[in-house]
């Protein structure tokens, strides 16, 4: 007997009888028996296991949010209690993809509202209902660009999240799509000369960050002005910053993607977060991923369904726009509840407070003789020079309950003695001052 398996001995016998076999063994006709036992322990009860797992979890160290100065793609923001409270409703959590729309209106409406809000943030016309993460969202954006203009070279700002570039290469190389990186200027923005030089007739798309990985805000207007027609302009953005920044659509972005973790999702050691994916209506049939649309029932009542499924793998198979099937719908719900809770003012306040905190930290560091590496305008992340010992110092900081600015060498081996600092609305003047004592 097991608490997750209902069968009593009596029932097992009744069922075997009904099937017309003598034993469970008879159900495995032609199935080789190759194992007797797995080489791990038998099952454990909740009480015992809980103790074990809590002990294991304590080998991780968590930091007070105000003492965390690391971002680099994953952010510690305040998450209102109701976000997790509501998203943990098991009627959301234990539902599958809304194949039966009539009993999935909860899922469908929540995702439709999510799509609407992502469109509002980015200014774009269509959002899908999620991708796995920011990196795969970008990779899929590149594949989509190639589908649109049938060219095979993608130019990527080297100043976007390096993990995104790595993942994009994994996705693009097998399809013979070439990814070329564009260097950055002293301002930390994309090098327009390098970009112009590399653009050619086979250039499908150009990718920039907004803000980029170094927290610098690229001038999308200027970049767009330098792009020949037909080139797909892909912007990788950080959604909270869009409360403060003009939406990419204004500057002619064709596809805006990014990581949505900062919208109400805990860091989770890197996953799950969520990839968001937005574009223009004219491209929608080239778009990967599920889309929820509004419709009516036979009595004229408003409702929601999955739409444009003919793009998808379960119908189109090898000709689908993507292989994505399960996505990150539940995380879209987190995003939606977070955005509904913060509203336009709250989101802007988060962005502004993060801005102020980062600029305060930057000012104080400069006062102490540390230099910012890039001169471009930044929002809540910035790179600054550190000395050789900082790599070790960073570990020491962790012992002192600070998750300090990350040494960039871990990410870009060529960027020695540079650290990337991040502030959000939860860092206080006191915690920043305390951090500064270590510099």
């Amino acid at each position: 007997m097991h608490r997750y398996i209902p069968h009593t001995e009596e029932e097992i016998n009744e069922m075997l009888n009904e099937i017309g076999v003598k034993s469970l063994e008879d159900l495995y006709v032609g199935v080789p028996k190759t194992i007797d036992n797995y080489n791990f322990e038998n099952g454990k009860d909740e009480f015992t296991l809980k103790n074990e797992i809590i002990k294991l979890s304590q080998k991780n160290k968590i930091f007070k949010p105000e003492n965390i100065f690391m971002g680099a793609g994953i952010y510690f923001h305040h998450i209102p209690t109701i976000v997790e409270h509501l998203a943990n409703n098991q009627r959301f959590v234990t539902a599958y993809t809304p194949y039966q729309a009539e009993v999935s209106q909860g899922t469908l409406q929540a995702l439709f509202e999510y799509q609407t809000m992502m469109c509002e943030l980015t200014g774009m016309e269509v959002a899908n209902s999620s991708m796995y993460d920011g990196a795969t969202a970008l990779a899929e954006a590149m594949l989509m660009a190639v589908r649109i203009n049938n060219r095979h070279k993608i130019l990527v700002s080297k100043a976007i999240n390096p993990e995104y570039i790595k993942v994009s290469k994994t996705y693009c190389t097998p399809q013979n799509i070439e990814i070329e990186e564009i260097s950055w200027t002293d301002e930390g923005t994309i090098d327009l000369d390098d970009l112009k030089n590399k653009i050619d007739a086979d250039t499908s798309a150009v990718v920039v960050g907004y803000p980029n990985f170094f927290g610098v805000i690229e001038d999308l207007k200027l970049i767009k002005e330098n792009l020949p027609e037909k080139i797909i302009f892909i912007v990788v953005s950080e959604p909270i910053s869009l409360a403060l920044l003009e939406p990419p659509k204004t500057f002619g972005a064709d596809i805006v993607v990014g990581e949505g973790q900062s919208l109400g999702i805990t860091p989770n050691f890197g996953g799950p977060g969520i990839g968001f994916f937005t574009t223009l209506e004219k491209y929608v049939r080239k778009m990967p991923g599920r889309i929820i649309g509004e419709t009516k029932d036979i009595e004229g009542k408003k409702g929601y369904v999955m739409i444009l499924q003919t793009r998808e793998q379960h119908i189109r198979r090898a000709k689908a726009t993507s292989n994505i099937c399960s996505n990150h719908a539940l995380m879209a719900l987190y995003n939606a509840i977070y955005m509904a809770t913060m509203g336009p003012q709250g989101l802007k306040q988060v962005a502004l407070m993060s801005y102020n905190a980062a600029h305060y930290l930057s000012k104080k560091l400069e006062e102490k003789g540390y230099k910012r590496v890039f001169s471009g305008p930044f929002l809540n992340e910035f790179a600054f020079t550190v000395n050789e010992k900082y790599k070790e110092k960073w570990h020491e900081l962790a012992l002192n309950d600070f998750l300090g600015p990350i040494p960039l060498e871990f990410i870009y081996p060529e960027l020695k003695n540079i650290a990337l600092a991040c502030c959000t609305e939860v860092n206080t003047k006191e915690s920043i001052n305390a951090l500064l004592k270590n510099f």
Binding site: Y4, Y28, P32, Y38, Q105, E113, G270, G271, R317
Partner: protein, 482 residues
């Protein structure tokens, strides 16, 4: 009502801490500063709570009742797993924290990987992929890398049976392969002749689901393995249906080179309305070097991340995968253990066969054979007789409070239902489902319109998805927008 209609200008649902920091001048060029705020809703906390509480009530889920969605393994999602996954020391961890501060997470992943290797009979594994399809892509890229590493550039094809899930051909295509679909034999399994014909020195991989999507075990698996390997190709295992084989056999033992798993199927992590899942990929020793970076290694007592794998296919997503999903699967495996997992497989198969016997009395089973974890039945006769289609029956099932099975898949059966009860359902539940099905068939014969116009008792009646795709509405239409 949508959030947007509930919104009232000036209302708030948040309050932020005071960071005591003065306002800095905004040094961002004017043209890059947002002019019009996004039209996010403005709501009070209670509005949001009620909105989502009421939306949740409109959702069917495993916690409500039976969810026999074939190929999806909608088993019970233990709440204990949820609780463990929500421990702060797991959720509030940044992926770039100093490695000495994340030993708990790394240790869990390392142990999970080893247990999954044991369960699949593989030698090494990555936990990075975020879902089954993502695992497929990863696995197929590994196959590609393998051939290329041997300088074999002519293997441009991937073979996929026509019963395969759509993600299989789609993933193979994304990996740059030409997809060759082979017809299933009359017994619903791989036709060895068809396979023979398709195989050649241009074939990189055969993607197989075993038991396949008809719930049938590929009895000739040894022969298939031999043929594929002889042709120099690799054998890929779509693990969506692994539940059936727990405690009996392992893809590795059958000769598969690459396996992907769905932690959100076999290992009880909830589907979350369609994700997040987790799609680990296991490989045999000779393919280990191609696995994505980083790999988790154990160095003495210390766990580390190793990025130095020159032959790796690279990263398939950022960081290390869906860690919170892994925690759930880890807790599940620990809860079930060796004895429990064996039971899972046996009871899943027992349930499917029992329900098959019951459904057989109502409509034909597409391939009437002893099945594994699921089976496919068809109402084609009824459709011819009454005009009532599988879709109509599905909708009518909703009226009776159970979820509809998977329909219209695999593509090789018409007007079909793919029914997978899983091991967590009781005999009573299965009996009840068969009763309902029987009743609906009677209704269809006596009053086909009743069934064709179903559902009636659901939050909305049948929805028009044709118009929805023809004249798509992608987002809320704010008044004043054009």
């Amino acid at each position: 009502m949508t959030l947007f209609e509930l919104s009232k200008s000036g209302r708030i649902g948040y309050e932020l801490p005071n960071n005591n920091i003065e306002d800095f001048e905004i040094e961002i060029p004017e043209h890059l500063l947002r002019k019009k705020p996004p039209k996010l809703p403005e709501l009070n906390e209670v509005d949001i709570v009620r909105h989502y509480t009421n939306l949740a009530s409109k959702n069917y889920s495993v916690d409500v009742d039976f969810y026999p969605l074939g190929s999806c393994t909608m088993k019970y999602n233990p709440k204990f797993n949820e609780k463990m996954a929500s421990i702060d020391n797991f959720t509030l961890i940044h992926p770039y924290q100093p490695v000495e501060t994340v030993q708990g997470s790394l240790s869990l992943m390392y142990e999970l990987k080893n247990m999954l290797c044991e369960i699949t009979g593989m030698d090494d594994m990555t936990l990075q992929p975020a879902a089954g399809a993502h695992g497929e892509l990863t696995g197929i890229l590994i196959a590609k890398a393998y051939h290329l590493s041997k300088g074999d550039t002519k293997r441009i094809k991937a073979i996929v049976p026509d019963s395969a899930h759509g993600t299989n051909p789609a993933s193979a295509r994304m990996a740059g392969f030409e997809v060759v679909e082979i017809k299933s034999g009359p017994d619903g399994r791989v036709d060895l002749n068809e396979l023979e014909k398709a195989l050649g020195d241009d074939v990189a991989v055969l993607m197989l689901t075993n038991p396949n999507t008809l719930g049938l075990f590929e009895k000739d698996i040894d022969k298939i393995t031999e043929m594929v390997h002889k042709a120099g190709a690799l054998l890929y295992y779509d693990g969506a249906n692994l539940n059936a084989l727990l405690g009996r056999t392992r893809p590795g033992d059958m000769g598969f080179d690459i396996v992907h798993l769905n932690l959100h199927k076999t290992f009880s992590t909830p589907h979350g309305m369609g994700g997040p899942g987790s799609g680990p990929v296991g490989v045999k020793k000779h393919l280990a070097k191609f696995l994505p970076i980083p790999e988790i290694i154990k160095d003495g007592d210390v766990f580390k991340l190793n990025y130095n794998k020159p032959d790796s296919i690279g990263m398939v997503r950022s960081f290390y995968g869906n860690f919170s999903v892994m925690v759930r699967a880890y807790v599940y495996i620990k809860t079930m253990g060796n004895d429990g997992l064996k039971k899972v497989g046996h009871m899943a198969v027992l349930n499917a066969n029992y329900l098959r016997k019951k459904v057989e009395k109502i409509m034909p089973i597409a391939y009437p054979d002893i099945c594994m974890h699921e089976f496919v039945s068809t109402c084609e006769n009824l459709t011819k007789e009454t005009g009532v289609k599988a879709l109509d029956i599905a909708k009518r099932l909703l009226d009776y409070g159970v979820h509809a099975p998977t329909m219209y898949f695999p593509l090789i059966v018409h007007e079909d239902f793919m029914i997978e009860p899983t091991e967590t359902e009781s005999k009573d539940t299965l009996d009840n489902f068969a009763e309902i099905l029987k009743k609906i068939f009677e209704e269809a014969r006596q009053n086909p319109d009743l069934v064709k116009n179903a559902p009636y008792n659901t939050p909305v009646r049948r929805l028009d998805d044709v118009t929805a795709s023809r004249k798509p509405i992608f987002k809320f239409n704010f008044k004043g927008d054009k």
